[in-house]
């Protein structure tokens, strides 16, 4: 099993300073992603999901912990030593319009990847660009058009073409659907699924839309206030959520059947500047006991492959 793990994150930490304050953005996050699988990372805004993504591909540096990519610890590799790894991991952001250079044609945007990594001849690069556009469902004859000439859905397809250009194995999708209309979202989901099947991609899929995450993921990690509170395969998490936060999160999702659910989360998410003592969820937790205010629960395996950080559940 071990050799199937592509990404392993151990005790990841990241703090940002804001004036005199320290924002505890990511606190002791550990998980593995197996090759060819999709890990869905969910949580509310400010829970640290995007920071985790940026840490993993070394867009920002960690304040502690390790990132192991295909058996190699890349946490402190120099920029030069990191370059071969950069080729193997890519990211697709939420807003495609702002992640495409408006002054470059989409063909050049994709070709830039090959130029940076010095791959192929000019003719080969042109051919690859056309193949990639075709693959993501854009007519290759539009390669000389500029990003603003495309719709939001098409722009996101171009971002995806760029992300798979170097045959990267690992793609982070950071809320890739949030800025798209519902009828377009399904097209992009389908594209991501097809590409995964065809190219054997490994995804870290970040979203606040639990229905989308459920549809795409093999395993799911739930974050709350910078900490991982639950991690499990998809089936167990949705059929048997254990952490009180996960339970309320799932019951907050509106459904077509529209049954009224009883659990409602009270209060506001606390600030990551002064996170509460003990369990981060304790001020809002319906099952809170004294120990939750004193001790931070550690992520523990409750049943096979199902990890929870909660004193009450662990008992």
């Amino acid at each position: 099993m071990e050799d199937k793990i592509l990404i392993s994150v151990k005790n990841l930490k990241k703090y940002f300073s804001r004036g005199k304050d320290i924002v505890h953005a990511v606190e002791d996050v550990s998980f593995n992603i197996r090759r060819g699988e999709t890990l869905g990372l969910v949580g509310e805004s400010g829970s640290g999901k995007s920071t985790v993504a940026r840490l993993i591909i070394r867009l920002i540096d960690t304040d502690g912990g390790n990132i192991i990519f295909d058996g190699v610890d890349i946490t402190t590799l120099s920029e030069k030593a990191l370059k071969p790894f950069r080729r193997r991991m890519q990211i697709v952001f939420q807003d495609p319009a702002s992640s495409l250079n408006p002054q470059m044609t989409v063909g050049t945007i994709i070709k830039e990847q090959f130029l940076i990594h010095k791959l192929g001849t000019k003719q080969e690069q042109e051919k690859w660009v056309e193949e990639l556009l075709e693959k993501v469902g854009i007519d290759p004859s539009f390669k000389d058009a500029y990003p603003h000439e495309f719709s939001g859905g098409q722009q996101q397809r171009i971002c995806i073409a760029r992300a798979i250009a170097l045959r990267s194995e690992f793609i982070i999708c950071d809320e890739p659907l949030s800025s798209l209309d519902v009828s377009i979202q399904a097209q992009i989901i389908k594209l991501l699924e097809d590409l995964q099947k065809e190219l054997g991609l490994t995804y870290l899929f970040i979203s606040h839309d639990l229905a989308v995450v459920k549809h795409l993921s093999d395993s799911i990690a739930v974050m709350y206030l910078g900490k991982l509170v639950e991690f499990s395969n998809k089936k167990d998490l949705f059929s048997n959520p254990l952490h009180p936060y996960t339970i309320t999160l799932l019951s907050s999702v509106p459904t077509i059947k529209g049954e009224e659910k009883e659990v409602e989360l009270k209060g506001e998410p606390p600030s990551p500047i002064n996170p509460p003592e003990g369990c981060p969820f304790n001020p809002r937790c319906p099952k809170k006991e004294d120990i939750c205010e004193r001790e931070t629960p550690i992520l523990e395996e409750i049943c096979e492959g199902h990890f929870v950080a909660c004193h009450i559940v662990q008992r």
């Binding site: 805004s45 859905g153 209309d181 519902v182 639990l210 999160l249 506001e268």
Partner: protein, 321 residues
Amino acid sequence: MDLLLSIDNLNVHFYRSEGVLKAVDGISYNLYKGEVLGIVGESGSGKSVSVLSIVRLLPANGKIVDGSISFDGKDILKLSMNELQDIRGKDIGFVFQDPMSSLNPVITVGQQVMEPLLWHNLCSREEAYKRAKNMLGMVGIPFPEERMKEYPFQFSGGMRQRVMIAIALICNPKLLIADEPTTSLDVTTQAQIIRLLKNMRSELDMSVILITHNLALTSNFCDRLIIMYASNMMETGGTKDVLNTPSHPYTRFLLDAVPDIEVEKELVPIPGTIPDLINPPEGCKFHPRCPMSMDICRAEKPPLFPVGDGHYSACWLCGRE
């Protein structure tokens, strides 16, 4: 049930340099007192414009070119600006998508909640203060008296939306229009806000129009739904009827294209993209994306055919017999 709002054959055009954009193309519906109506559509479907027209809040290049709007017995299109301003904010309250840009950043929250009462001369300053305090408490803001002295930036997104709701409801409106009120919020906060709107509706006995792109959000809040696509009404009916037995291909597509947390299903994306509204397709606006389209769909715009009790669908497939 008493009729509160009646819109008949509303046509709104936007004049752009590229041409005339038909933002609303002949829409008619009624809203009864105490009813919650959901208007669902994607961006550019005309859902917001059709509702902003009710108080004639259109951008400078937008114009209501045809149709009639009657609200509480008044013909809106014949009212003077002064008469309209009596309705805005008093009889009709608004909640928009982004609370931060709807609130004034340099005025205290308390002032902003009191403002509609004072502006409409409904009560004294002391009375307005008391009512604002009560309203903020009602919408679930803890320590309302202290928080009235604070500014919008000191509130979280969910709390700001509660403030917006308090402002919209402070004059006891007959109609609350909520335009994507939870789109910028997290799912747990969204659930809180929808629950709050539901409670306030029954407590204040008002009508609500909820505009959203999220079909699932309507399921346990709205009594009736209107599905809009490319400036046209595609389907309308009771919420349960529309969601359980959708009759327009677009509605069915919309339901199939969105993953549901409770149902494991294959997603069926809607092919193609939303049409250009300056040069929209002839006939049914959905025909270029519709796998069931026939010759007549390309030639003639379908009227609303009855498909059930109060359930109508603008699709030639429903009117063939």
